[in-house]
């Protein structure tokens, strides 16, 4: 638009009959041009963070169902994306309070901000049934969206993803799994509002979903090359009293996985050996993936104490920059083919993985939020005890590690004796988790190789 207006001005100059000696005409013409430019120049308008967000989109943003208003007669028919679909400024429209519940709530929301693991404001729309969003929609897991496995249609909404456990942390049958896992929301709320995190600016009234998402900025991510969005914000950067200057994470070049010294290698997308996560493109270096390591390690690091109601203990502390799957060094056994494509032997020991390569952010039918699809292959992880004779964890580890060479060889050359691992029956298989978990540096209580990381 601006270019067109400039051209118009140039054309105008050309059409003015100028004589070199006629200074007055020159000056007046220039003045005319300047005036016209000033009149017709309009600074281009661009949408701000809210209008670019998933909730504020005029195409697919928030739109409370007309049936939720007191009656069709007073349906205010607000445009999609408007504040009123979530916030009731006076808990009253035309003298009545819109559904679903009477009485004003914190932050002028139409429902309690947060109640428990499966009840809260966000779940009023992010649910499959009785959603207050006028148009039905799905929120599939990361394995579906970034991994491209469209067979994984359960969970298909956020409430379902958080419903693999209940408020007590006990497992709940969901998506044909009774051993699934979910991020424990009340634990998150407890953690982010603890004194140690006071600089983050959360309060006792904060919704735990808002630990990771700015509801007025979070964007939809179609996970399609050339069409991306950024849904998360770093909790440690929340530090803003009114929650407004809290920017997105991943929307600038410095916030992507390709910034690590160690190489990032994108996993395969489901059903392909030529296309990669997270957007089905041929990009492999993480330049199209949010730096989820930095994002997740705001909480999950070597210093924070996070109690897990589900596990009944504090989460393991770990330093991702030192771990083998993270920024730490790993040794390549040149005698065997350890690794599975797209990971390369030559790069082994020089990779850094993103948390989302293995974990779902919200919940999973698998244990420990392990994805149902990793590096293009299916996983089933239900066993957390040892022995693991169904070799559940192998279904995860073998998505990247060669089972017949790397996994077997690497363990047998340790020379620890068969029954150290194959116990109590020599035919038993140990659970990978016995030794390989975040923060582990020991094998059955004995430090490994002077404290070398085992994960």
């Amino acid at each position: 638009m601006k270019t067109r207006r400039l051209n118009n001005v140039v054309n105008l100059i050309k059409t003015v009959n100028l004589k070199a000696s006629d200074n007055l005409k020159i000056i007046s013409s220039v003045l005319v041009c300047l005036v016209l430019f000033a009149v017709f120049y309009v600074k281009s308008v661009s949408a701000g963070p809210y209008l670019n967000s998933a909730h504020g989109s005029s195409s697919y943003g928030v739109k409370r169902s007309a049936a939720d208003y007191e009656s069709p007669a007073i349906d205010p028919n607000y445009i999609k994306g408007l504040c009123a679909h979530c916030h009731e400024q006076h808990a009253s429209i035309d003298g009545f309070e819109p559904y679903p519940v009477p009485g004003p709530d914190n932050y002028t929301l139409f429902y309690s901000n947060y109640v428990n693991q499966t009840d809260g404001f966000c779940f009023q729309c992010h649910t499959s049934s009785s959603s207050h969003q006028a148009t039905a929609f799905n929120n599939y897991n990361y394995s579906y969206r970034a991994g491209g496995d469209t067979s994984l249609t359960c969970p298909n909404n956020i409430l379902s993803a958080f419903s693999f456990i209940n408020e007590s942390g006990a497992p709940v049958s969901n998506c044909s799994s009774s051993t699934g896992s979910s991020h424990k929301l009340t634990d998150i709320q407890t953690f982010i509002t603890a004194a140690a995190q006071s600089s983050w600016g959360f309060t006792a009234n904060s919704n735990p979903c808002s630990a990771c998402h700015n509801p007025h900025s979070a964007q939809r991510d179609p996970h399609t090359s050339g069409s991306r969005g950024y849904p998360v914000s770093r909790p440690s950067l929340h530090n803003s009293k009114d929650n407004n200057s809290w920017g997105l994470w991943g929307d600038s070049a410095a916030e992507l996985m390709n910034n690590y010294t160690a190489s990032y290698q994108a996993p395969y997308r489901s059903g392909s050996t030529t296309l990669y996560e997270p957007d089905g493109s041929t990009t492999t270096n993480g330049s199209n993936l949010t730096d989820y390591v930095t994002f997740c390690t705001d909480c999950h690091n070597s210093t924070n104490t996070i109690y897990s109601t589900t596990l009944g203990r504090n989460l393991y502390q770990f330093n991702w920059s030192a771990e083998k799957h993270g920024g730490g060094a790993a040794t390549n056994d040149a005698s065997v083919t350890d690794i599975i494509a797209p990971y390369q032997e030559a790069q082994l020991g020089n990779y850094v993985l993103a948390c989302t390569d293995c974990h779902e952010p919200h919940g999973s039918p698998n244990r420990y939020l392990i994805r149902k699809m990793v590096n293009g292959g299916a996983t089933t992880v239900t066993v957390i005890t040892t022995p693991d004779n169904t070799r559940d964890w192998n279904s995860l580890c073998t998505k990247c590690h060669n089972d017949s060479t790397s996994i077997s060889n690497s363990h047998h050359i340790l020379g620890m004796g068969c029954t150290t691992c194959h116990t109590p029956d020599p035919a038993d298989f140990p659970n990978c988790l016995d030794c390989h978990y975040h923060g582990s540096t020991a094998i059955y209580g004995s430090p490994y190789n002077g404290g070398e990381h085992l994960f």
């Binding site: 445009i79 994306g81 006076h90 035309d94 932050y107 009293k241 009114d242 200057s245």
Partner: protein, 368 residues
């Protein structure tokens, strides 16, 4: 010598008079002949004298020997400001294209009840509401209100005859800075006990732009009803008025739940704590000195703010923080009527999202 003494004799009182004239606030009282506003017998040369009428109002005699009603003078239907016998008279109802005054224009309620306060004097009653939104029950107010009197806004708000509560106010009217506000005539816009600075400049009665607007008075915390609406809070024996003397407090005398930080019957109002998280959009709270609110720096007549102290002059600046400016009911709503739903200052029901959010974005600068 005699001449010099005479000059001294005359000039001294003249100087004193001039000093007095220019040092004392001059009441913006109605001036002119009594007959400009009053009539002894409603008859002059055989013609009725009550000739200031609106619509179907009768020309019969009026209280206090007036020649017309409120609307007879203030709703003549033409310009936004008219000249009546030498006096500029603001028009709360006009149908021409001139800009609406700061309170809005009651013409909008004639097409949509939702667009303004339903002043029954205009002959169009409320069809949807059964009580003032946010008011306690039993209210006794109803939804069809008057300009003044027991169910009105201007004057003492005590008597059934609305004109009684305005008696004498025009005679003593004070313009400009009104920070005494103990009588109707020295209160902001005859809203008893409400403080403020009336725009008395080139664009009198108007909120034209950042340099020409009324200055509203606000507080840093909403009123609280606690045990009930006692005589201190609102129900003064002399009439109804807000303890806070703020414009938002005034609105709350009818729409209490929308302002009070603790309302009645367990209703939290805007939030019992008077601080975030609010349960309704708060008024009489400061613009926080953080985040997006710091982006509101130039006064906007689309979403004006109130001041913690009634200023001497109009300011084009907005300041956030503890000593800064204050959100009020009139930040979003017009006092009389607007051309938009819910008396809002902008079209919240626009089919264009950025337009619908335009008023919100004045304060919530990052929600664009």
């Amino acid at each position: 010598m005699i001449r010099i003494k005479l000059i001294k004799f005359i000039s001294l009182p003249l100087i004193i008079l001039l000093v007095f004239v220019f040092s004392v606030k001059v009441p913006a009282v109605i001036t002119g002949h009594c007959s400009d506003c009053h009539t002894m017998h409603n008859s002059q040369d055989g013609a009725v004298m009550v000739d200031y009428t609106y619509g179907a109002e009768t020309t019969g005699t009026k209280s206090f020997l007036l020649r017309g009603t409120c609307l007879g003078c203030h709703a003549q239907g033409s310009l936004n400001i008219i000249n009546m016998r030498g006096n500029q008279v603001p028009q709360v109802y006009h149908t021409d294209g001139s800009s609406d005054l700061a309170g809005g224009n009651f013409k909008y309620i004639l097409t949509d009840d939702n667009k303004g306060h339903n002043v029954t004097d205009f002959g169009d009653t409320e069809d949807t509401l059964t009580s003032p939104p946010g008011h306690h029950q039993p209210d006794g107010i109803g939804v069809n209100i008057a300009c003044s009197g027991e169910v009105g806004c201007h004057g003492y708000r005590k008597n059934v005859n609305s004109l009684i509560d305005m008696k004498g106010s025009h005679h003593g009217n004070v313009d400009g800075k009104l920070d005494t506000a103990d009588q109707v005539y020295n209160s902001y816009r005859f809203l008893w006990k409400v403080k403020g600075l009336e725009n008395n400049g080139s664009y009198k009665w108007q909120n034209k732009d950042q340099n020409n607007h009324n200055e509203y008075f606000g507080d840093t915390i909403p009123m609280t009803a606690g045990g009930g609406c006692d005589t201190t809070l609102c129900h003064d024996p002399g009439g109804k008025r807000p303890e806070s003397q703020t414009i938002s407090g005034f609105c709350s005398t009818c729409h209490g739940a929308f302002h009070f930080k603790e309302w009645l019957s367990g209703d939290p109002g805007t939030g019992a704590s008077g601080s975030s998280p609010f349960t309704r959009h708060p008024t009489d709270v400061i613009l926080p000195d953080s985040g997006e609110y710091n982006g509101y720096t130039t006064y906007s007549v689309l979403a004006p703010v109130a001041r913690q102290t009634v200023p001497d002059t109009i300011s084009s600046s907005v300041t956030s923080g503890a000593s800064g400016d204050v959100v009020m009911c009139l930040s979003c709503h017009a006092a009389h009527a607007s051309n938009y739903a819910d008396m809002l200052r902008w079209d919240y029901k626009s089919a264009t999202l950025s337009t619908a959010l335009s008023g919100c974005n004045v304060c919530h600068t990052s929600r664009n």
